[in-house]
Symmetry: C2
């Protein structure tokens, strides 16, 4: 059966396009608090679980040994915009481990954010691996490898200790083994393992409640989530939607986008985690739905804040002459 | 009922995302030669019917009076990339009518093609209305208004003679009245009227067969389609998919993309027109499906050429390190 329509795009009062998908809002015990669509479908979480992948950076003691700051921990969980400050911070993390950008294996790309890319071009520059949106995550991987005395080459390989540790943390949080037949290669060359959508939501709920995981793991996860909530710009970039969501409720909402229409997050005060996937992979839809899911989670506790997130789930569309032409809106089904 | 899945995006051998939609391949009498999904659904054709909108440029005699070249006619039907040559050609069209870019009402935007935008930024320039992907269409509108002695101000308005003529041509081709309640504003500020998907396919089939329309209209349409097939770069841009499709079968395939996952086209030799819409509006999917629909149309006549278009309906995906990670592929349902 097809997943329900969860986001609509209108023009002139008509629905021009629409997006189907699924979401799961889950508590620490794994109970569905709210959901739509097929939450058992196996999906690639992509960058939405960078927090899971950064847990070994804390657990190995690497973050403490290299005195990584909360801003640097946020960058380790980031899909950043490649702004100058992100590039400097990634270089600083590598320098703490005695490395530089030549150790990064994430590849180079022009910043996704078009104005940032054009500014780089205007200055006559070209992007380095430090501009890659994943450079902070990779700097974190390298800090861990150096701290443990492991090879810093081919750390993106599935069998490198860095990836083995990340995989073990994800398996613990998702609550099932991650198998090779559900493994793809991510944009930055590391393995990405597919698992049921609700498993990723449960993983975030475990991290903010500590249920079903070791106190050490819960503390590691919480320190990363707190770092992201305190440094949303480092974790995303100027005007990016993760920054928008987290600055709308400082310290109360964690949210992280992933490629191909994935979004994950947590509401630490409420002990809830969520995960969503838009079937067609559209970011415009995953963003609108993420705001709506957060609004749903907050509704009973804080109606005003829920209304703020309802508002973030709708965006007016303008054309090149700044004329209003329609909107993108989450269409949350009845509870 | 949900439209069928027509395009899949894979990663690591799994389907990561997928796109639903509908297509209609139609002959001059309006018979469905092949179809999938709800072809009666009302959709906005957006830029995919710029040929329809340019018909008055020929029929009023403006194109002849201003001695517009085939390359300029192609630009009048274009969503171009804003490359230097496109900008010069749009300026030349306006100059023939005694105007310049200050008359354009399409608005300014950075070229959609990222390398073109970065090159503009690298030179320290910013985009003008001539860079707008619709500047050729607007130059055509203005040529027609000047030729007819009409006001060149607010020519984007729904009641301006330029738009009234365009609307009448579309109604004739689609075979039904276009109503205000199905009218939106397009990206370049002109009205866009929604109509059933199969109507747009039929319109292109009418233009290449002459069935059901006046010989003058058929000749006007054919001259525009021939101009586009002869000048695919002017009608799109370097490496753009319309260019790719038309250069793969010179003079035998016309294809035009539109925003929000629309694609239209015609196979003049076969007397067929097609229209498709991806439900979620994704261009990556409309492109793959357009190639597959053209392949379907050609299969019986030219198996080799059909295989070429089947190939264009699949695209290998690489990550930033150029590692193959998956593919985008049209999944044409059984005939």
């Amino acid at each position: 059966m097809a997943n329900p329509v969860l986001v609509e795009v209108t023009r002139g009062g008509m629905v021009e396009s629409f997006h189907r998908g699924a979401f799961a809002l889950v508590d620490g015990e794994g109970r569905l608090v709210a959901a739509a669509g097929d939450v058992d479908r196996t999906v690639f979480p992509r960058s939405a679980i960078k927090v899971f992948q950064a847990i070994p950076l804390i657990e190995t003691g690497a973050a403490a040994a290299f005195r990584l700051t909360p801003a640097e921990l946020a960058l380790a969980c980031a899909s950043h915009s490649g702004e100058d400050g992100h590039v400097r911070l990634a270089a600083a993390m590598l320098a703490k481990a005695g490395l530089d950008e030549s150790s990064l294996e994430c590849g180079c790309h022009w910043p996704f954010d078009a104005p940032v890319a054009r500014e780089l071009a205007r200055r006559g520059e070209t992007p380095t691996a430090l501009h890659n949106n994943c450079s902070g995550k990779h700097a974190g991987f390298l800090c861990t490898a150096v701290h443990r005395g492991e090879d810093t080459k081919v750390y993106v390989g599935r069998d490198h200790p860095v990836q083995v540790r990340a995989r073990a943390a994800i398996e613990d949080l998702v609550g099932q083994a991650l198998t090779i037949d559900a493994c793809g290669i991510d944009g930055c060359s590391i393995p990405t393992f597919a698992a049921p959508l609700k498993g990723f939501a449960h993983g975030f709920a475990k991290l903010v409640t500590g249920e079903g995981i070791s106190p050490q793991r819960a503390a590691a996860g919480r320190s990363l989530i707190d770092a992201c909530m305190a440094h949303p710009w480092e974790m995303s970039g100027t005007g990016r939607f993760c920054e928008t969501l987290m600055t709308a409720a400082p310290g109360r909402v964690f949210a992280k986008t992933g490629a191909e229409g994935v979004f994950c997050g947590a509401l630490p005060d409420l002990g809830l985690g969520f995960a969503l996937k838009i079937d067609d992979g559209a970011t415009r839809a995953s963003e609108a739905l993420a705001a709506a899911v957060i609004a749903r989670a907050l509704r009973r506790e804080d109606a005003d804040l829920a209304a703020t997130f309802d508002g973030l789930g709708r965006r007016t569309l303008h054309n090149w002459e700044k004329v209003e032409v329609g909107e993108i809106r989450a269409t949350m089904p009845p509870a």
